[in-house]
């Protein structure tokens, strides 16, 4: 899919909460000491944080870099699977808090971990068609992991926001093309009213994550006439550290090209925030002319693949807001008891 008129990222921003719990602390709690753990530590939202406040944080930094009048934003879409309200959009709160005007389209998207990049696609379409001058896409989550479940080691909190506008000297990167691959594959789900998701163990790998990520990436490359060697950087959805590295190998992309955006070891799987945060961290180091491959994955299942070309404005806009590494460095460790309290895991 190529937009009719070229679209780019006017501003981007990310946010990771200050609190961390070590995977080893979760292992200690559940008698899993000494076992191989999927990550080092994960980000934990504070007791007064939720997906909406995380989305706000990311969006404020995206606006800071965009340097536009917030009233010119015609749409705010938030992708998440941890919406504070089952019925009431979070985008209205974020828009109001940022001073974005009321002549606005706002909606919350859900597609497991790829709801954020669904929002990318919608924003790109709205801007390219001329229905909105600027549109904001946010991927954010305070992911739920059932106590003692293997997901608890990785389910984390964080998010990233992107303001899209027509490609110009003001855009930090433009969309070269995108491609989505979607099938009915129930590898992970959460039924209505359930506090924690369920998953089908190893089924989340080959027929789910790898099939969708690899297919979407290959479809995109074929459409654009590109090969893996044409990409300077790559970002994949990061449910753990192993999957994105294996996906890169399957596509023939060296692991070094993943490094700037491979955040899962230090912040965990931020679900809808995962690949958007990886993209933000990659933009933090990319140079004008670099080509970035980004492939999200959402259980249920689908992948959105994008190719971005970094532009000159990155150099000027990058320093206008904190880089993702600043949030990774800002950390306060909590034990399992505090984590359980912060995330409402205790029944009263």
């Amino acid at each position: 899919m190529k937009p009719i008129r070229p679209v780019g990222i006017v501003g981007y921003g990310g946010y990771v909460p200050a609190y961390r719990i070590k995977a080893s602390e979760i292992g200690r709690m559940w008698g899993n000491d000494g076992c191989a753990l999927p990550i080092i530590e994960k980000a934990v939202a504070g007791p007064d944080e939720d997906m909406t406040t995380i989305a706000y944080e990311a969006a404020r930094y995206a606006l800071q870099r965009a340097g536009i009048d917030p009233h010119e934003i015609g749409a705010v879409f938030i992708g998440s699977e941890s919406k504070p309200y089952a019925v009431k959009p979070s985008g209205t709160i974020v828009a109001e808090a940022l001073g974005i005007g009321s002549q606005l389209l706002a909606a919350d998207y859900e597609f497991a971990c790829k709801a954020g990049t669904e929002a990318f696609q919608t924003c790109i379409g709205l801007v390219s068609s001329g229905m909105a001058k600027y549109a904001m896409a946010i991927g954010a989550d305070t992911a739920q992991g059932k106590p003692a479940d293997e997901l608890e080691y990785t389910a984390a909190s964080g998010g990233a926001a992107f303001v899209f506008g027509l490609k110009s000297d003001e855009t930090v990167a433009y969309v070269e093309g995108s491609c989505s691959y979607t099938t009915d594959t129930a590898d992970f789900w959460r039924r209505a009213g359930q506090p924690y998701p369920a998953h089908f163990g190893r089924f989340t790998g080959k027929p789910a994550y790898f099939r969708h990520v690899i297919t979407a990436a290959r479809m995109l490359m074929e459409e654009l006439g590109l090969g893996p060697e044409d990409f300077d950087w790559a970002v994949f959805h990061q449910p753990n550290a192993k999957f994105p590295i294996k996906a890169a190998k399957m596509l023939g992309i060296p692991t070094e090209k993943l490094e700037p955006g491979l955040l899962v070891r230090y912040i965990g799987n931020t679900y809808s925030g995962s690949s958007p945060l990886g993209l933000a961290a990659t933009l933090d180091v990319a140079r004008p002319g670099d080509r970035i491959l980004m492939v999200s994955y959402g259980s249920g299942a689908g992948s959105d693949a994008f190719s971005f070309i970094v532009q000159d404005a990155i150099e000027e806009k990058r320093p206008l807001a904190p880089p993702i590494r600043a949030f990774i460095a800002r950390k306060k460790y909590v034990d399992y008891a505090s984590y359980a309290r912060f995330r409402g895991k205790l029944l009263r």
């Binding site: 200050a18 007064d48 944080e49 909406t52 406040t53 944080e57 150099e315 460095a329 306060k332």
Partner: protein, 140 residues
């Protein structure tokens, strides 16, 4: 707090909107219809700076019931860059790290949650300014 009251307070709770007296120039937060200094009713909305310095703080250990889940929490008196003083929770820090003069910035957080089925009140809180080392070629 009723939903209509919370809704009316959105500008000052979400965006730190205050009032400036067109007559004497005094700025207030929250908004005021009449200037306490000169008595003028000619007031205009003004968006206040989201940055300031901590003047003083206290640690709340015995909290009201609807804030009990956050205790212990810090309440600080903050002087914004505009010179306006606001009272606010200060988050993402240990009280031991706090001292007068510390640079703070406003963020949006949950203020109160009205039970499992009620409305969630959001509003400003402050936290230490996020700083970072610029890498080669970066400014800050």
């Amino acid at each position: 707090m009723s939903v209509p009251k919370f809704w009316r307070e959105i500008p000052h709770k979400y965006r730190l909107v205050g009032s400036r007296c067109r007559s004497c120039g005094a700025i207030y937060h929250p908004r005021r219809p009449i200037c306490p200094r000169c008595g003028s009713r000619d007031m205009e909305d003004v968006k206040l700076s989201h940055r300031g310095r901590l003047l003083a703080f206290t640690v709340i250990r015995r909290a009201p019931s609807d804030m009990a889940d956050l205790r212990p929490y810090v309440v600080g008196l903050i002087e914004l860059e505009d010179g306006v003083k606001v009272l606010s929770q200060v988050v993402d820090c240990d009280p031991a790290e706090l001292k007068p003069g510390l640079e703070l910035e406003a963020t949006l957080r949950r203020i109160r949650v009205h039970g499992p089925a009620g409305v969630i009140e959001y509003g400003y809180k402050f936290r230490p300014v996020i700083k970072w080392e610029a890498e080669a070629g970066e400014g800050q």
